[in-house]
């Protein structure tokens, strides 16, 4: 440190700063012991990340990208078709029963045309093994709606949900004989045998 004349005040501060710091004799030992402790972890020895934390890199060629885009397009078309088909089939918005309970349901001022009403069909056909209900509501499929025998005298019945509107139907006896409902009006059919007609209506409370 160069000798030069200093203000006495500053000289006093400087001399204080120049005074050597007295440390514990074991200070050096403690410092060296701390430096030997394995507190620093090298990067290449870091804790391995789980697959969720790992970063993934995907490389794709232009042709591969076009193929992927076409596949996504096909999936989108398929999904849209499923949505359209379900809408055409008529997804019910509301369900109600054609019974006293329905009359107590909330005041529905204007039920939509897609409202579903449960309708019971009954027919008296004694001495047969099976009776099925076929109509425009089940694709005229004899396997779709089997009726239940309610009495030994041959009273068959089934209850199923129908959309509000006009429906044509028949009963199929023993999977072979098509008959109309004697209690319902009829409509001429293009295929020879007449169809029975039921008109399902909405109900006001």
């Amino acid at each position: 440190m160069a000798d030069y004349e200093l203000d006495p005040f500053i000289e006093g501060i400087a001399s204080e700063l120049r005074r050597p710091v007295r440390v514990d004799a074991r200070f050096d030992d403690r410092v060296m012991a701390a430096l030997d402790a394995p507190t620093v972890i090298p990067i290449h020895q870091a804790r391995p990340r789980s697959w969720k934390e790992r970063r993934w890199t995907l490389s794709i060629t232009p042709v591969g990208g076009m193929v992927a885009a076409a596949a996504l397009f096909a999936i989108a078309i398929s999904g849209a078709k499923l949505v359209v088909d379900s809408r055409e089939a008529g997804a019910p918005i509301a369900v109600a029963t054609d019974s006293i309970a329905m009359r107590n349901v909330a005041n529905v001022p204007e039920a939509p045309e897609s409202m579903i009403i449960e309708k019971q069909f009954t027919v008296l056909v004694p001495g047969v093994k099976s009776v099925a209900l076929v109509g425009d509501f089940n694709d005229w499929d004899v396997k779709a709606t089997r009726m239940e025998l309610l009495s030994p005298k041959g009273l068959w019945s089934v209850t199923l949900p129908l959309r509000v509107g006009r429906h044509e139907y028949q009963f199929v006896v023993d999977d072979t004989l098509h008959i109309t409902d004697p209690t319902a009006p009829e409509s001429s059919s293009d295929f020879g045998s007449a169809n029975s007609v039921v008109t399902v209506t909405r109900r006001d409370p």
Binding site: E113, V134, W140, R166, P182, E186, S188, G192, T199, T201
Partner: protein
């Protein structure tokens, strides 16, 4: 490869309905599917066509018969859509086609275009077909119901009207006479309600709905009781007398 995948997707999109594939033979399926596809391109409802084909399959009709019936039905659906207009719903188009097949004239369907915006008439068209099938002359049924639609009759009123007419027929009244009288009575009820500011019940005839009160001078007999003339209590359709199936006049 892009065009190939897209072509496969579109082919599946435009492909045959699986219900037809399962229930029809190959030749009939191909012909019916072509009719369905043509209808779809023209904006005609296709589900009624598919169900008509399935009806034929259920009844074990010949393939040629099924194709002919489906083709004819597709033409009726086109005519109905043209008559009712592009804003008509699928239900209305189907009901209109059924009405045409029952004998209603296209001109009557075209009159429904004059109905107020938002006025639905699928129920009226169904009632039209029903009444014609019950023996009501097509001109009488269509004229009466079109007038009621244009007068803004509700679906419930029309449904009740149909039930009343059914009861009249079951009671022995001529179907055409009942239809004309009941429809005229309901028209007057609607007009009276409108004159009274739309308040129901303020100017209605008696609860028995006597046709004679409408001034037609028609003796409807004691069997006449009506819901339609009193504003239309809803019901779930006709309930024929226990004597059996009503006979057609």
């Amino acid at each position: 490869m892009l065009f190939g995948v897209a072509a496969v997707s579109l082919a599946w999109w435009a492909g045959t309905d699986p219900r037809l594939t399962m229930r029809l033979d190959a030749r009939t399926n191909e012909a019916v599917s072509a009719i369905v596809e043509s209808a779809k391109r023209e904006g005609v409802p296709t589900e009624p066509l598919i169900k008509k084909a399935l009806e034929g399959a259920s009844k074990r009709a010949a393939g040629e018969t099924i194709v002919a019936v489906v083709r004819g039905y597709a033409n009726d659906l086109r005519r109905a859509r043209e008559a009712l207009g592009p804003k008509s719903s699928e239900e209305e188009v189907k009901a209109g086609a059924d009405a045409l097949r029952a004998g209603v004239k296209v001109q009557e369907l075209e009159r429904l275009r004059e109905a107020k915006a938002g006025q639905r008439f699928a129920v009226a068209l169904d009632a039209m077909s029903y009444l014609v099938n019950r023996g009501v002359p097509a001109d009488t049924a269509s004229s009466a119901l079109v007038r009621l639609v244009l007068a803004s009759a509700t679906d419930e009123q029309i449904t009740a009207l149909r039930a009343d007419i059914e009861r009249d027929i079951a009671g022995g009244m001529p179907s055409g006479l009942s239809t004309a009288a009941r429809a005229n009575g309901l028209e007057q009820v609607i007009a009276a309600a409108d004159e009274n500011g739309g308040a129901p019940g303020t100017a209605l005839p008696s609860g028995r709905g006597s046709i004679g009160s409408t001034g037609l001078g028609v003796n409807a007999g004691a069997a006449v009781q009506g819901n339609a003339a009193t504003g239309g209590l809803p019901n779930d359709g006709p309930k024929p007398s226990p004597r059996g199936k009503p006979k057609r006049p």
